[in-house]
């Protein structure tokens, strides 16, 4: 049952969006996030939603997948909406009863904030849907590589991330196994009060920790045997290449930001 957990939720594919260099996608996602905060008019929201829909269609991602990504955030979205709806000061009351009041400004702001959060989250989800975790790690490493000059261990950090990703399925499998073993000895992991269940997790977590340390030890030894000695002097088999489509994507990104700014200026 634990096996069903997927991390990063990558949908493999071979669309123009999938083929973009991960660096391009990372930078454009950042641009997209900044652009969302520059939106100053309803036209801007419409344009952003249209752009998001276009990229989603281009990547052959079903819109339902994007909405599913929003599900865990329903509470935050509702909270933002309520907060803005009821606590925006103003005089243009739409509704007023004792101390509860809703203003027109508040309503506008609530809708805008909800749109912003939804666009923001769906946009970043689109990145993880179309880029494998490994490619994201790789892209990040290369984007951050100038920091190596400041002695930031960029390569080590990306290797850590890569190994963590690699071991998630292995550790999930192991957790499943330990769970079955403890259940076979009568452990009750599913009923009882919260503190009781937390205590019941100990016999699960302790073996898992011990075995993870043993794994780490063995992995370190195996890596040393394969001549690992830090990031220095290392080469990479896979080189990233910026292609024409990356330049086109950057062009689209620039146009998008310009359009947002123009719409903001015109107030449409």
């Amino acid at each position: 049952m634990l096996k069903d957990i997927t991390l990063g939720q990558y949908f493999p594919g071979d669309t123009p969006v999938h083929r973009l260099d991960p660096r391009t996608k990372l930078v454009l996602t950042l641009v997209y996030i900044v652009a969302i905060f520059l939106i100053g008019s309803w036209g801007g929201y419409a344009l952003t939603a249209a752009a998001l829909a276009a990229v989603t269609a281009l990547a052959h991602i079903r819109p339902r997948a994007l909405f599913r990504g929003l599900k865990p955030l329903v509470f935050i979205i509702l909270f933002t909406a309520v907060l803005n709806l009821f606590f925006t000061p103003g005089e243009d009351y739409l509704f007023h009863w004792r101390f509860i009041s809703v203003t027109y400004t508040g309503l506008k702001r609530a809708v805008a904030m909800v749109l912003r959060v939804m666009l923001l989250v769906s946009g970043t989800f689109l990145l993880t849907y179309t880029t494998s975790p490994l490619a994201i790690t790789d892209g990040l490493e290369r984007l951050l590589s100038p920091l190596k000059k400041l002695h930031v261990p960029v390569y080590e950090l990306s290797l850590m991330m890569c190994i963590a990703l690699r071991f998630i399925p292995t550790l999930i499998e192991e957790t499943d196994r330990i769970m079955s073993a403890q259940k076979a000895r009568g452990a009750d992991l599913e009923t009882g009060t919260l503190p009781e269940r937390a205590r019941a997790l100990l016999p699960l977590l302790i073996p898992l920790f011990i075995s993870s340390f043993r794994r780490a030890d063995e992995l370190a030894l195996a890596m040393e045997c394969r001549c690992y000695n830090g990031g220095q002097g290392r080469t990479r088999m896979k080189q990233l290449h910026m292609a024409g489509r990356d330049i086109a994507a950057f062009g689209c990104g620039a146009l998008f930001v310009a359009a947002i700014l123009i719409l903001r200026r015109l107030g449409i």
Binding site: A222, C225, C227, T235, M237
Partner: protein
């Protein structure tokens, strides 16, 4: 022929152990040969393996790899590049979550140029028959497949010697056959020197030479036909003879004349067929 690894009278004791794990072991490993090291638990066979690529360095005596002393820190990388090591648990040796990226790990560490890495990775994967799985995620492979990926990961360093420390201990019979077949092929067809640490007798029959360890010393050493005809001595060391050797011994005791060197199942079957006319 000069040995590729020369072990000169080495001893080693783990901290807090009552008796040394290795106690005066000398051994020459000749290039291109297949050596199997047998022994029961605690016989020192894994400790011996760990001395071959400077994971451990001897307390007394020395180990030379291509003339390089393992005790010298300066020699660490050249020795590790020459002597590849594969461990028991394939899950704990695989670094990346795509097969080909994992195989590329060692040559990337060595600073090999990208085109050459690609060539070595494809080559190594073909040699262990895993080329078609190069884009798979390792955790979806079977145990035998994972272990072959681990072997490819070591082969990509282009080593002269391949040391395998109980590589089949965690595998099912099918996985064991796959791994042993791949290792034997590497030795016979590519001329890679193989040192296989195992406690499965039927894997050792394929070796050129067998070294039997007992309490930190070499108890028996010789060709498989000579070692496995000494059933008594092996049993006294807590080991057994392979099924083929036991069968040949019983048939010969019953009056047949079968070559005691026909130890692989195929050779044994052929020899029996011939003896029966």
């Amino acid at each position: 022929m000069d040995p590729v690894i020369r072990i000169e009278n080495i001893s080693y004791a783990y901290p807090d152990a009552e008796r040394p794990a290795l106690d005066g072991v000398s051994l020459d490993i000749l290039p291109g040969t297949f050596t199997a090291v047998l022994g029961s638990n605690g016989s020192g066979k894994s400790t011996l393996a760990k001395h071959l690529n400077a994971i451990l360095t001897p307390a007394a005596g020395r180990v030379l790899v291509d003339g390089l002393d393992t005790a010298d820190e300066q020699n660490l990388l050249p020795i590790r590049r020459r002597v590849g090591m594969v461990f028991q648990n394939p899950d704990n040796q695989i670094v990346a979550n795509v097969v080909e990226d994992d195989v590329a790990f060692a040559p990337e560490n060595l600073g090999v140029e990208p085109g050459e890495i690609r060539r070595r990775v494809d080559n190594a994967l073909r040699q262990v028959g895993m080329y078609d799985f190069r884009l798979h995620a390792p955790h979806l492979l079977s145990g035998g497949q994972k272990q072959r990926v681990a072997i490819a990961g070591v082969l990509a360093m282009d080593p002269a010697v391949l040391v395998l420390d109980e590589p089949t201990a965690m595998l099912d019979p099918r996985g064991r056959r796959e791994v042993v077949a791949a290792v034997e092929q590497l030795c016979r067809e590519r001329g890679i020197t193989v040192v296989l640490i195992t406690h499965h007798m039927d894997e050792a029959v394929r070796a050129d030479r067998i070294v039997v360890m007992d309490r930190g010393r070499i108890a028996l050493e010789g060709a498989p036909r000579d070692i496995f005809s000494q059933g008594q001595a092996l049993r006294a060391l807590g080991l057994d003879v392979p099924d083929t050797a036991a069968l040949i011994a019983r048939l010969n005791a019953a009056g047949l004349d079968i070559d005691p060197g026909a130890l692989t199942p195929e050779a044994c079957a052929a020899a029996i067929k011939e003896a029966l006319g």
